[in-house]
Amino acid sequence: MEHHIVLRVVAKLLIPVILLFALYVQFHGDYGPGGGFQAGVIFGAGLILYALIFGLQTIKKVVTPSFVHYMSGVGLLLYAGVGVISLFKGGNYLDYSFLSADPVHGQHLGILLIELGVGITVAFVMVSLFYAFAGYRQADLKVPPDTGHEATEKARDAVLEREPQ
């Protein structure tokens, strides 16, 4: 992808803003439009954009597949864990009023935590879906790595066009 200079430069400028915006949507969701689901998909889309422009191998160095798989479980556990804590504090499951001495403050805290859990799970499930689809071709068909050189492009095309069976 070395020849797509406009895409690379624009993506480099945009991706930090997209990720920052996702965090804003996540933590400002109580007061304006936003919340865990929206922030999760925006964060996931930012990471996927990076993978599309700079290649799957590049992003896998930073956001490793095993990290992605762990995190998609961690978000769900965080959500369920908040429910268990409110059980231990004497309330019903997922009753945030018992998380703090002041019920309204408890609700704030509970919503912040479970929205964080939702955001983490959604973001990393989206990334792991992308990894699964983008990695499948290379794993299955033994495609030469995408280097952007014309010769390897032709080799990739040859492999992809080749009829299995």
Partner: protein
Amino acid sequence: MTTIGLFNYWIVFVLMMSGLYIVIVSTNLIKKIIGLNIFQTSVFILYISIGKVSGGTAPILVDGITLYSNPLPHVLILTAIVVGVATTALGLAIVVRIHSAFNSIDEEEIYTTSD
């Protein structure tokens, strides 16, 4: 503001039937999934239309405003969209596996191959 009437519902039904038509007519599995997605978005619009209140605003509490649109359909559809993309991905993954088993994603070709 003039009333929207039932126009939203009618368009929803047009979209719904376009999605159903794609699912019936197209033999290509990916096109079928696109059709299912169109059907799905039509249901989203149906719910959001039911929750609309004329003259209301988005359900974010602000001093001085008393009329808000119904937030409950928004909640249901918000989660449904994200669940929808996850299940679509599952469908596409099955299509990929079908392609690696039959070397085709066309229904009729798959039937003839599997005979």
